[in-house]
């Protein structure tokens, strides 16, 4: 066991934990005043809910002994056998508990990302049930597929820190969720302008800060590879922020702060699967494309007329897909001998593998999310009443108001 590596993973876990409140602020700032608490709550409460789910069964389903490449069994129920000694397979220089809690933070933020799609209109009870089912039935299997000994990892798909597991899965779920939940009252007429942009930008900054833990921490030991992951993460975020802002500048003459923040997030999303396999120059390209692409995705949204309120599809979905494919383009064994080369380094096969993993993730997340939403709608009903929606979630669901 290595003290340096242990510090690294534990403090990375703390950083990733911090991303969920960061997301709460990012999303909370983007909704209207009357929904700020309801929105923040949806992220915050997942810290509680998913932690318990993960500790009880989620970790075992994701990383426990493999059943047919599909799912882990429940041998590690309630963390039995997960202790202070290193595990045999994951992070062999750090306590098994450290690996477990680091992964826990990923399991929390993933369903939290989805909440941007049905913001400002969903029942809290429905949200709780949805998130719990989604974590169990979508996140845990996907996590197992990519990292827990499942088919995707075995196939050779590269996903260093969660491009498919976290971003594509939540982006795809967001798409379905926006469709099934339906539009907010007044869609196309009412001005859904962010009520507090400094709050949203603060949230984005927290995300950026925490993402260092997310990506570099995924190296699980503090080596040159971790440094590389850290560096390319920062570079991609920077390049994407610039690209988004430049695109806005060209498009409308007005570069916006929300654009800078969204761009940064898009760049962070895109580099996530790639960060352990690509170098700085590739990261610049990945980031620039991510910023421009996600900007276009968001701007074209109105064409399709569905209400993905906070652009989860446009940023996490699109950005995640680009990142997973970019890994198949730019990956290089010069960066990570344990990885593979991508198309630009002479191995077109990797791009195909990445493509399969993208399609597999999207298809699985689409299908399962749809079923879960329909079940929740049947049992509880997804949406608040029209009157509650008008009064806002804060007062109608939580009996609080953000500002007094």
């Amino acid at each position: 066991m290595n003290a340096g590596d242990t510090v690294f993973v534990l403090l990375s876990a703390a950083l990733v934990m911090f991303m969920t409140p960061g997301l709460a602020l990012f999303y909370g700032g983007l909704v209207r005043n009357k929904n700020v608490l309801g929105t923040i709550m949806q992220s915050f409460i997942l810290l509680g809910l998913i932690t318990l789910e993960w500790v009880m069964i989620g970790y075992s389903m994701s990383f426990g002994p493999d059943i047919g490449g599909i799912i882990g069994n429940l041998d590690w129920f309630a963390l039995s056998g997960v202790g202070m000694e290193p595990s045999e397979s994951y992070g062999t220089t750090i306590p098994h508990l450290a690996f477990m809690i680091f992964q826990c933070m990923f399991a929390i933020i993933t369903p939290a990302l989805i909440t941007g799609a049905f913001a400002e209109r969903i029942k809290f009870s429905a949200f709780i049930l949805f998130s719990l089912l989604w974590a169990i039935l979508v996140y845990n299997p996907l996590c197992h597929w990519a990292w827990g000994g499942g088919w995707m990892g075995k196939m050779g798909a590269l996903d260093f820190a969660g491009g498919t597991v976290v971003h594509i899965s939540s982006g795809a779920a967001a798409f379905i969720a926006a469709l099934v939940t339906g539009k907010r009252k007044g869609f196309g007429i009412t001005q859904y302008i962010p009520h507090n942009l400094p709050m949203a930008i603060t949230g984005a900054a927290l995300l950026w800060f925490g993402w260092f833990g997310f990506n570099a921490g995924s190296a699980l030991s503090c080596s040159g590879l971790a440094a590389n992951a850290f560096v390319v993460t920062h570079i991609s975020a920077s390049a994407a922020a610039l690209a988004w802002v430049s695109a806005e500048w060209i498009h409308s003459g007005k570069p916006t702060t929300l654009g800078a923040a969204s761009g940064a997030v898009a760049g962070l999303v895109a580099i996530t699967p790639a960060c352990g396999y690509v170098g700085p120059v590739s990261a610049i390209i990945i980031g620039l494309v991510a910023g421009a692409l996600c900007f276009c995705g968001v701007m074209l949204k109105s064409r399709f007329g569905y209400d993905d309120s906070l652009d989860v599809v446009g940023i996490h979905g699109l950005g995640g897909i680009w990142g997973a494919l970019a890994t198949g383009l730019f990956a290089s064994v010069a960066i990570n001998p344990a990885g593979a080369n991508g198309l630009f380094f002479g191995n077109p096969g990797q791009l195909w593998i990445q493509f399969i993993s993208v399609i597999g993730t999207i298809a699985f997340s689409f299908f399962m999310t749809f079923i879960i939403l329909k079940v929740v709608d049947l049992i509880i009903g997804l949406r608040v009443s029209i009157e509650d929606e008008e009064r806002g979630l804060d007062i109608s669901l939580h009996n609080e108001t953000g500002y007094n």
């Binding site: 007429i189 949204k301 109105s302």
Partner: protein, 112 residues
């Protein structure tokens, strides 16, 4: 005595205030309001989502003055607050029965 309720564009506040001071207006009260008028109703796109602009932030001034001052005040306001573009705002003139200064209890003209 009359009360002028004046709706103007926010960034015209300082100019209008200076103008009114210059003609001897000693007090006024300002509040932030949202206006719905001709300026509304057009569609805008924000981050790819369309919406209708209904309410525009405006400043409301309330000034109570002697009736004789009204014409001059209106002139000053028209002078200072006009940009010529839609949404410049309105002046409403209302009758006032009485004014009392709280500090002294004075009434009428002296209290304005």
């Amino acid at each position: 005595m009359k009360k002028l309720e004046v709706i103007i564009k926010s960034f015209k506040l300082d100019d209008v205030k200076e103008g009114l001071s210059a003609i001897g207006i000693k007090g006024l009260t300002v509040s932030e309001v949202k206006g719905f008028g001709r300026q509304r109703g057009h569609k805008e796109i924000y981050r790819g989502a369309e919406y209708q602009v209904d309410f525009v932030p405006k400043i409301k001034l309330e000034v109570v003055m002697e009736t004789e001052l009204v014409n001059e005040a209106v002139k000053v306001i028209l002078d200072k607050a006009t940009t010529g573009q839609i949404g410049d705002g309105k002046i409403f003139i209302l009758p006032v029965d009485e004014v009392i200064r709280i500090r002294t209890g004075e009434k009428g003209k002296n209290a304005i």
